[in-house]
Chain length 422, copies 2
């Protein structure tokens, strides 16, 4: 008997018929003798519908008070889902009970609309499991120290599921989604993309953070921190397929780098067009300048990704970074009003029409020349590189958005990922 | 400066445009210097939509576990409403904050889908009011001693509003609805029906309990118990009408019987077709029989209304009572399986096609002959009376459902209610 956490996305919960299928699948696992905790998302479209209503009424200025109400509203989508799934399980003859995040409780900080989980109390859930109940917990949300409802941001249900799995030391956390695993890159862009049977946690972290939208990045961080075995698999297989077959399907995110892996140098190509680039030109080159620029940005709760500071000449330097495209306007405003004068920059400019393309692979640790092969490939396609950023196991470039597909296809081919498989 | 509670029904909250109007109206009251607490219902149609989804998935048998999940689901409608209204108020420049029932907390028993309020902690709300915030609280719901979400049953938001007003000793509780007050009877059935400017609490209690659907009965009970001044008024007046005019509109439910009231003998005619009649024939006439019959019914959480036990002859009696029509099948089943054999009744029969018509008036206390005038009026119309039930200030009859409109019109005319006004 194992303790298993299932997470189902909004598409899998998209109608009562689909919810019934989820219930049958969960019941199959429970009947196989497993203790089951399930974390479903809101029915697809529901969160957007709710936030659409809110947007029609919202004041122009975003305030913590407004964000608090958005969380109050958006969190209801998952609450409906857990109730419906609990009922569907009861109709299957399974004892089940649902909890909202605050009931577990899943404690978070007060970062409305993008809160972070602080702790999970699993006593109530364990008691229910001991009584043979399937426990269904809302994804995407928790409760802050003052008793306010918070949400974890888009994709937060993945994080909820992994956090619950971590807190309960679950044997495996299965993320059911509308794709059947993690691919070398997005098959919609490269039809030859191949599904990976396993991927290392670190590679997955890069894949997730770089825009491969299979899993929310924080869920992968959590999985890594607490070593939660995580599997991404399809919710569109028939619910009654053999459970052992199902348990081996999809992509396993593993912590053992070399076991069972015929590791290619590069495991996958990730990309994102959710970013925008901003630059301050003619910044005086003095100590503390990066903090003076990025401090106010971070204070405004704007996530910063790639950061580039060029070598100074004539005592001046250029400073560039990327942010989520949704934060672009706000970032430009903030730089012009609060930062430019303060640091004495000559000019603030930006470009929202960029994209980031990255190659990822554990193999890069021990092999040189991979980045230069990437640059050569892009050069051969006539693609200009605007920014470069590297880590141990990935190399990212920022390029003009219009070249994104071309770059991804060229790199996928250059690194022999069609044959990679695994 | 007064402390005022506003309650808005689902129709008033039915669209973002209407929510904006509610916000403007509340802001007008707040700007006039009042401390404002608002209790809105779910957007019209939302609770039905949610429970419709649940019904598609539900097992046949109703259990406490199922009812718990229904409350989990249904309570989200109001949670969305409070968030949206808080946002709309913020857009009007008013500081505002919303709370779900469990956050206040509004504590209830564990009677899922028809819970009763046990206590309300107003500390958090008072603190917000002191800071100048408009506080918006979900109607219809609370939290039980184990931390489960409960709902108060249909119309429960009225009760929530009055309970909050009582707990906070509000100066007045204004129930905004889609009618402009309490009428002598339903104007859809009797076009000559007149709006009452005032009605006594006891009369209102009878009107509410007998099917005049302006206010949920428990809200009137609460208002009576805690002497909360309660006003029913229209949410369809322009939001910017003069506040003093608005404060005098609608119908005031009063505790002073004779002040400012030109009291008629009968104040109104109430009716209900939400009931069904069940009878046990040939019940042995022995002590404790009523309890033996009704105990199991009450244990099944079925509300009983009119109860009739005829005089016995040959040691046998007939025992009849009415229940909500929605409980009819369940009640018949229960009587046949758990009660009939136990008490030795010859037969269990029922009729869901009945209605109850009542005349109500404080004046009945001091005037005789009112009931007999009612019976004569019905007799002249050829309407057979199946059951009769009386209290100090009302007389009810159960008749065939098909005569309901005829009976209401005839009684409204017989008691001169067209001219009553006040």
């Amino acid at each position: 008997m194992a303790l298993i956490v299932h997470k189902y996305g909004g598409t899998s919960m998209g109608s009562t018929e689909r919810i019934r299928n989820v219930a049958k699948r969960v019941a199959k696992w429970a009947r196989a003798g497993h203790q089951m905790v399930v974390v479903p998302s809101a029915m697809s479209g529901e969160t957007n519908r709710l936030l659409g209503l809110a947007k029609e009424l919202s004041p122009e200025k975003s305030t913590p008070e407004l964000l608090r109400e958005l969380d109050m509203i958006a969190s209801t989508g998952e609450q409906v889902s857990v109730g419906l799934l609990a009922i569907a399980l009861q109709a299957e003859g399974m004892a089940s009970v649902s909890y909202a995040g605050w009931q577990v409780p899943i404690k978070t900080d007060t970062g409305y609309t993008k809160a972070r989980i602080a702790s999970i109390d699993d006593a109530r859930v364990r008691a229910d499991l001991a009584e043979g109940k399937v426990v269904i917990i809302t994804g995407f949300q928790g409760i802050d120290p003052e008793g306010n409802i918070t949400t974890l941001g888009r994709g937060g249900s993945d994080t909820s599921a992994v956090a619950v799995a971590a807190a309960m030391k679950a044997d495996e956390c299965l993320i059911y989604t509308d794709v059947d695993g993690v691919y070398t890159t997005d098959p919609r862009i490269v039809p030859e993309a191949r599904r990976l049977k396993t991927i290392s946690f670190e590679e997955m972290l890069e894949m997730a953070s770089l825009g491969s939208k299979v899993l929310q990045i924080r869920s992968v961080e959590f999985a890594g921190k607490y070593r939660v075995p995580l599997r991404v698999l399809s919710s569109f297989t028939p619910w009654d397929i053999d459970i052992d077959e199902e348990a081996r399907s999809g992509t396993l995110i593993t912590f053992e780098e070399d076991v069972n892996m015929e590791q290619a140098l590069v495991s996958g190509i990730a990309f994102s067009r959710d970013e925008a680039k901003v630059s301050l030109h003619g910044v005086p080159d003095r100590p503390g300048i990066a903090y003076q620029i990025l401090g106010p940005v971070a204070d405004a709760n704007i996530d910063i990704d790639v950061i580039i500071q060029n070598v100074a000449h004539d005592g001046k330097t250029d400073f560039s970074f990327t942010v989520n495209r949704g934060d672009y306007g706000r970032t430009l405003d903030l730089l012009k009003t609060q930062v430019q004068g303060e640091v004495g920059a000559a000019e603030v400019v930006g470009d929202p029409k960029i994209c980031k393309v990255s190659i990822i692979g554990i193999g890069m640790r021990s092999h040189v020349g991979i980045a230069s092969k990437m640059f050569r490939t892009l050069s051969e396609e006539g693609i200009n590189i605007q920014m470069i950023s590297t880590s141990e196991i990935k190399t990212s470039v920022v390029i003009d958005e219009k070249y994104m597909e071309l770059a991804v296809r060229a790199l996928h081919k250059a690194f022999d990922l069609e044959q990679a498989g695994s």
